[in-house]
Symmetry: D3
């Protein structure tokens, strides 16, 4: 159950601005599969294009952080934000980019540990040490 229709390929075909983004998603990912997130966003083609362009710039383009690390960071944020869909989709992507079972297990441990100390720090209201100051 969604709050906006998930558009089928036929429906997207009828909206040129959405069709152009779907074409680019397929070309960029070298795959015919377009996942549900984009089908929901396609109801608002301007937003679809904006989010896709941003994702392409941040997650796909060459950069100072390697592609697998990027996906693990994405999983970490999605977990802390409680987005089930995002945890699923980015875990699938991370595995496709080579994340091993051992790395996944460690990722889950780091996320859990951070979740623990984050809450303990908040419960204790620990003040920032001056040593952490940016020069």
């Amino acid at each position: 159950m969604t709050t906006a229709k998930l558009l089928t390929d036929a429906e997207v075909e009828a909206i040129p601005a959405a069709k152009a983004v779907f074409d680019d998603i397929r070309a960029t990912r070298k795959s015919d599969f377009v996942n549900n997130f984009w089908r929901g966003l396609a109801n608002d083609p301007v937003s679809l294009k904006r989010v896709w362009e941003q994702l392409k710039a941040v997650m796909v383009a060459d950069s100072a952080i390697d592609p697998l690390t990027k996906e693990m960071i994405y999983i970490a944020v999605s977990t802390a934000n409680g987005c089930s869909y995002c945890v699923h989709s980015h875990t699938a992507t991370a595995r496709a980019k080579g994340m091993s079972d051992a790395q996944h297990g460690e990722l889950v441990s780091i996320i859990g540990l951070a979740g623990q100390t984050n809450q303990m720090v908040t419960a204790l209201q620990i003040p920032v040490d001056p040593e952490f100051e940016v020069r």
Copy 2:
């Protein structure tokens, strides 16, 4: 302002179980500096030891994820959980482990992008694609 006292070195000295953990923190990190989180936890030496042992096992021990990536994942979770102290302390640690300004900038961008799509997915209530299923 904290909800429990931050213990000074002199006060920790008087609690052998806490003193032993502080000694191990200093030996493991090869530094005399012990940050406020541990000084707040030291009020409960059993918890202090448990959290430190866990942190050492997850974040310090050799593993399938490199030390800098671990810190970036920690920053990502801490940001999504809104823990200012944790963002500061782990950003300082990541920089000490070699995170460049370019990597920090990208990390912030990935966290921001994930925060954006996490919320859009939740607002649209997108269902998980069967393609993401673990076999």
Copy 3:
């Protein structure tokens, strides 16, 4: 699957204090439909009455914010808090109050953008500008 039974109309009928609230929900909304939230709360009739009275005062009574805007604000909070049920129920209500597809699309974009900048601000630990001070 819930953690408390969802009471049927017959079960509510047997609890006068809950019955009175259900009658008021139906009269206020001019509809026989009572959604699951109230059926779960009906296990605790005092709480049921307290929450309903509050909702009626804040969301139904005439006020300085128009009814559709109120629902969009409610959707925004519910999304950020990750409450799927609440996103569904308030999106349905907002549509019933006239929210267009264009408005829904924009709402999702604003929520996403805020989610993005919220996290970037937290990752960067930006201090509040003195210009934002309330006089």
Copy 4:
């Protein structure tokens, strides 16, 4: 820095509806001290009265959960929601109601542990066991 003025006693005196709530807070708590939360809410006397009446009914009235346990639950929620002010105010109240240092230490440990397993469960997307079903 707040987003609405914190009203002084003199300013509250000039708003009869707010004054009546302040009088009740003082009488109920048998103390002249009224903390900042109520001074911020006093800008909207209707809301001030609604929130205070609710707090009195849930937190002050006799009930099936003892007063100290209620405060510890309040601290737990406030920590997970990242509300520093609320962590401070309810920890002070819990101590006034007799929370020992040992109980505070354990509370912090439980909150931390829950924070950890909450995140691990979300990262692993664990499905609910049918055994947990409410009959």
Copy 5:
């Protein structure tokens, strides 16, 4: 204390890509004031431009939701996400766009009420009514 330097006007001047964005912020807002968020982002001019372009498209451009409502939605999300800076900056902007004290009071009440029912729904694990289904 931030995790990246807040760039001064002189420092921004030395980075043409950042300078161009600052010029556009000033021209668009018809004000010389550039708040700290953009000064922190300016360390990464590509990200600065991307976020500003997005904010301009979503929050400044003409659209199906009026400017004040947009700001109130932004405050709602920022509050639920616990971003103090964002609550301050968007409350200041909303007041500049005409938000009255009465509207602010109601906004706070709606956010509070949603926060309450969001958590009760989650504690009770209420299932979505089929009536809320998108046709």
Copy 6:
């Protein structure tokens, strides 16, 4: 759908380190039932052991907070963190430890009230009263 396999008893049997933890879970709880969380964690036996040892120390061992109160605190955190699985499993445990319907109803009310005031405090950006300072 999970992001890691839920191991069956037969699969756990083949991993001695995981088998030992499952044996201890069954012996400690005096029950043959091992819930899904541990079956997901069993993919990483080191993490499985670490989390179980911690849970046993914090939740099972004798302590200054009684077992039912601990479970209610756990439910409170899990609700605020939006972990459906955790809300289900700890509500089932709390009921098994004697939580009455009246106590559950009150717990939900306290969680809801805290959720409300947490958000109002954040929206108003209330500063901590000096009276709450730890001496």
